[in-house]
Symmetry: C2
Amino acid sequence: MQNIKVFDDCVHELSRLPGVGRKTAVRLALHILKIKQDQAYKLSEAIKKLKDNIKFCKECGAISENEVCPVCSDENRKKDVICIVEEAKDVFFIENTGRYFGLYHVLGGKISPLDGIGPGDLSFDKLTKRVHNLNVKEVIIATNPDADGETTASYIGKILQNVPDLKITKLASGIPIGSHLEYADEITVLRALENRVGLI
Amino acid sequence: MQNIKVFDDCVHELSRLPGVGRKTAVRLALHILKIKQDQAYKLSEAIKKLKDNIKFCKECGAISENEVCPVCSDENRKKDVICIVEEAKDVFFIENTGRYFGLYHVLGGKISPLDGIGPGDLSFDKLTKRVHNLNVKEVIIATNPDADGETTASYIGKILQNVPDLKITKLASGIPIGSHLEYADEITVLRALENRVGLI
């Protein structure tokens, strides 16, 4: 049976997606063959439209339909508070709380020596400039609390420590709501203990 | 931050793919935003082309650019041997051996009471017709050796047992080449023992 080029091409393109190996790509391609034509067209179109219409905000790096994202162009957001996140998707998770009214800054990753990602690969220079230009009063570091995320948080602390009147905070670590002490690891419990808050 | 429709649409379409949840879909969408434009276009195009140009062979159910697949339309293939597989992708795995010269029959799945898939959902009627029309001498059952695959194999044996002069065989189960006895489960070792082959 000769190879079917169109099929192989699609498998090849799908397998370039992160986390999609050749076997998964074959499974996805066969799935696309089985679904209705308009559903397959919708998927194809959605990918093209996404690429054509969405960019990264030139101010903060969040995803946006315009040059500047809705948060950065919103007059009502506090311009002197910046929440620093690793990736554009993290902006959604903070926004979903509905209680944050400052700006964002997307680093584009985290410092990871093992993956060859150093400070020069992330948007720290731009962060420092924004902190100065916007006369920022507080940066909230919202990197993930894993090893690389903590390193990145420390690095941010270091480069911003000399900015006068700047409060530098970090998201609290502790027992997740709805969970139990017995399911948390020792370091999480230790952090929860160290960062205990007054009840009244 | 208002929702960005184009982004949400793409996440929605991606999350309809099997094994892709919402979080994975967001990750894929952000990946598509980061890659070069022509690579994103290639992916979009490949999906559309796949849907436009590939169909399932009307004879055997394998994937094909034409109404009838290259195997079924190949004069040199043996028409009196049919290898029965669960899914279209399984055809590739048998073809890759380079040593099978008969036809195929794709069932489109396996009997799975728990998933609500009964004999009526698979192409058994067509199989019986092909076995008769092509005057088939041997069917090789190549369903996967898990519970549902074995059930399906038994069912095929039952519906074809009265066809005169038809040899019904099944792929051998045993120790995979390059593996060791200690890594195989008892049933696999038992099958390997029961189906032992003469050395000379």
